[in-house]
Amino acid sequence: MSSLLRVEKLTAGYGMTPVLFEVDLELASGELIALIGANGAGKSTLLGALSGLVRVSSGTVRLADRLLTGLRPEMIVASGMVHVPQGRRLFSTMTVERNLLLGAYRRHDRQVRADFERILGYFPALANKLDREAGTLSGGEQQMVAIGRGLMARPTLLMIDEPSLGLAPNIVDRVMEIVKAINKDGTAVLLVEQDVVLALDMADRGYVLENGRIAMSGPAAELRRDPAVRKAYLGV
């Protein structure tokens, strides 16, 4: 397994307050990794640090051997690492189609239209809603637009922050099926998810973040059985 993403001793935070301490994380091409941890552990901060939104004070981030630390977010997107933020963060008064196309704003190739059609294939529910304002869609549909917008940048690694947030159980299932399909088609996925069982069931490997440090990592099935993980995150 060659490593697609390699994070070494990453320390990051807000202002003078460090949130992450020397985080090491690795992810292979095409892998699906679950990042789990309590609220406040630093999961979203880690995604922010990887995508250049949160200042990194020390350590390195490499994607396909290219050093990304210190690059501006748009350069990181252009290099193939794309962040689907928590809470969708769509442009709510713009149409679904424009939201999706905005994901490709860094691209100047001729495949954007073709990608648009291909990506819509993952989201049949959006096909007849392209000219609706994104803010009028249901929560599940908005999450689909957010993921689709991320895909429009042609990522090799898609980072998705809590896609299940506020969604009905059957819609969570549908969104997760889509994430699995995207991963199966070759895009590596770093998934932050509160539903630990769901996340570990679909992931290849997992990392457990506690108080800003990686407390544990390993094959998802092993973490799922681990007594400490079960006690801390499943309450059993």
Binding site: A38, G139, G166, A168, Q194
Partner: protein, 262 residues
């Protein structure tokens, strides 16, 4: 007489019927859980009860009187508190000061003095489990704690009915357990509750009844255990994975203390 009764409630937005003929009653001491697909009208329903929206048809009665069309602050002062899905604390204030706002402005009768409001804040912060963080600036709070603060602000109004809009969203299973204990404490203090959740553990764990909204209409209402087994609810809302995970494995028989896992 019921504490709160809705009769044939309807609300339209342009050409969309957000709520159609919704009727239910909440008695003193009830914990009613409202579930249903995204876009089914759950938050619209809370907005009608708390006066942010005026329903187009039907009536809402609080004890003997109709509250339809009353301004939100008047409904609040009648004893109906609520939380919002998107929390909006005052960012420059502490946890305690934020909570005191509910006590200062949301209560019936004479206005409390600031000192009394802060004292009231301390009481409810203990109920929601934020007592030790009372002097934190709110920006330091994690997501679960911000949700607790939202509940505290509602409780500081001393409501008899509290409407909770997804206060467990974004919590992991252990955090949900802690939040459930908080809701039970609120219930045990004599507050009647109507809550919206997508976390079935909450519906089963604390609700005395559940109501499923689908496309703005009541699909099913009843005891939570029955509602969650209803094929129509599985079809429209829960999905097959939930239904499958609830079935006991064929063998070995489940051990005592197990089987709580989702």
């Amino acid at each position: 007489m019921s504490l709160l009764a809705l009769r044939d409630l309807g609300k339209r937005f342009g050409g969309v019927n957000a709520l159609t003929d919704v009727s239910f009653a909440v008695d003193q001491g009830d914990v009613l859980g409202i579930i249903g697909p995204n876009g089914a009208g759950k938050t619209t329903l809370l907005n009608c009860i708390s006066g942010l929206y005026t329903p187009d048809t039907g009536d809402i009665r609080w004890e003997a009187a109709s509250i339809r069309g009353l301004a939100p602050y008047r409904i609040a002062r009648l004893g109906i508190g609520r939380t919002f899905q998107i929390v909006r604390p005052f960012p420059s204030m502490t946890v305690r000061e934020n909570t005191a706002m509910g006590a200062l402005f949301g209560r019936p009768g004479a206005r409390l003095q600031p000192g009394a409001a802060l004292k009231e804040a301390d009481t409810v912060l203990d109920v929601v489990g934020l007592g030790e963080k009372r002097n934190y600036p709110v920006l330091r709070l994690t997501v679960p704690d911000r949700k607790r603060l939202e509940v505290a602000r509602g409780l500081a109004m001393r409501p008899r009915l509290l409407l909770l809009d997804e206060v467990m969203a974004g919590l992991n299973q252990v955090e949900v357990e802690l939040a459930l204990e908080m809701v039970r404490r609120v219930r045990d203090s004599g507050v009647t509750i109507v809550l919206i959740e997508h976390v079935m553990k909450v519906i089963v764990g604390v609700c005395s009844r559940a109501l499923v909204l689908n496309f703005g209409r009541t699909l099913v209402e009843g005891p939570p255990a029955d509602v969650l087994k209803d094929p129509r609810v599985i079809e429209a809302y829960l999905g097959q994975r939930y239904a499958r995970d609830q079935e006991p494995p064929p063998y070995p028989p489940p051990q005592a203390g197990e089987g709580n896992e989702k």
